[in-house]
């Protein structure tokens, strides 16, 4: 039973990095000199959350392939949990992005490449949930969900590269092959927040997997007891 529970150390580690990143963002990194000014401080959590969401969808993609190869339901559970967390992080990205958009561009929403493709990602993975809810049989549900997770992932690299392929949008390209495009102190704050958010994703994935395993155990026990 103990093995099923997430290690508290991961949550503590995530908390330490996230709080440190936040403190550095406000007390170490300078206020942005562009027109964004103080609202640029949203960047230090907004971008790590966005990248973590895309990583979660990447894990769902890999787990979906692993399920189709092995038919082992543990991969289906990992894919399902990753999509759930990816969606949670995506909703946070959308909300904080809208707030930042209002502050920086004076608009809550714009149909520009990054925002539009990210919204499409959210809708696709929301549809993944709907798909799971309408199929009762476990193996068939897992197979359909895996195929859908693989197809839905096609939009993830499109979202990531949208600002690079279509630079006329509002989103600036901050991190590229040529460098980070930000001051050293800004990058340190960003990088620490990025580590914290990644650790949080790992910790939440472990805990959510524990929940799914426990739910399966409850179902098995109820079945064996005849109820």
């Amino acid at each position: 039973m103990k093995k099923l529970v997430s290690a508290p150390a991961l949550f503590i580690g995530a908390g330490v990095f996230l709080i440190t990143g936040l403190m550095l963002a406000f007390w170490y990194s300078p206020v942005d000199s562009s027109s964004m000014g103080f609202s640029q401080k949203i960047f230090y959590y907004h971008v790590p959350i966005a990248e973590t969401a895309l990583v979660a969808f990447g894990i769902a993609f890999v787990a979906a392939i692993a399920y189709l190869r092995t038919q082992d339901l543990k991969w289906d559970r990992l894919s399902y949990v990753s999509v759930r967390l990816g969606l949670l992080f995506s909703i946070l990205v959308m909300l904080t992005g809208m707030i930042w958009g209002k502050a920086a561009w004076d608009t809550w929403w714009a149909w520009e490449p990054r925002l539009t493709t990210f919204l499409l990602v959210c809708f696709l993975y929301a549809a993944y949930w709907v798909l799971r809810s309408v199929v009762d049989e476990e193996q068939r549900r897992a197979t359909y969900a895996a195929v859908f997770a693989i197809i839905a992932f096609i939009n993830v690299p499109i979202t990531f590269f949208a600002t690079r392929f279509l630079p006329e949008g509002l989103h600036p390209v901050v991190i590229s092959a040529g460098g980070t495009g930000m001051e050293g102190s800004m990058f340190v704050s960003f990088f620490i927040s990025m580590i914290g958010m990644t650790l949080l994703l790992v910790a939440l994935t472990r805990r959510d997997l524990a929940i799914e395993n426990l739910k399966d155990r409850v179902t098995d026990l109820k079945t064996s007891l005849g109820g």
Binding site: I42, H46, L204, R207, D208
Partner: protein
């Protein structure tokens, strides 16, 4: 944008992030605890049903 103008947007963004993550953390922790309790109860019930009546009475 000045600090005075930007602070309400920054505060709102971080408040949403932290509130959602903290609520999710505690909700998932409660879910684990509740499910562990359910598993324990069901395992106890399964053990009780497997134990022959005479043995259970002797205990």
């Amino acid at each position: 944008m000045t600090i005075e103008e930007g602070v309400k947007y920054v505060a709102a963004a971080y408040a949403i992030i932290l509130a959602v993550l903290v609520i999710y953390y505690f909700m998932s922790a409660r879910r684990v605890t509740a499910l562990q309790r359910d598993v324990q109860l069901l395992e106890d019930e399964a053990k009780r049903l497997q134990t022959p009546v005479g043995e259970a009475g002797a205990e």
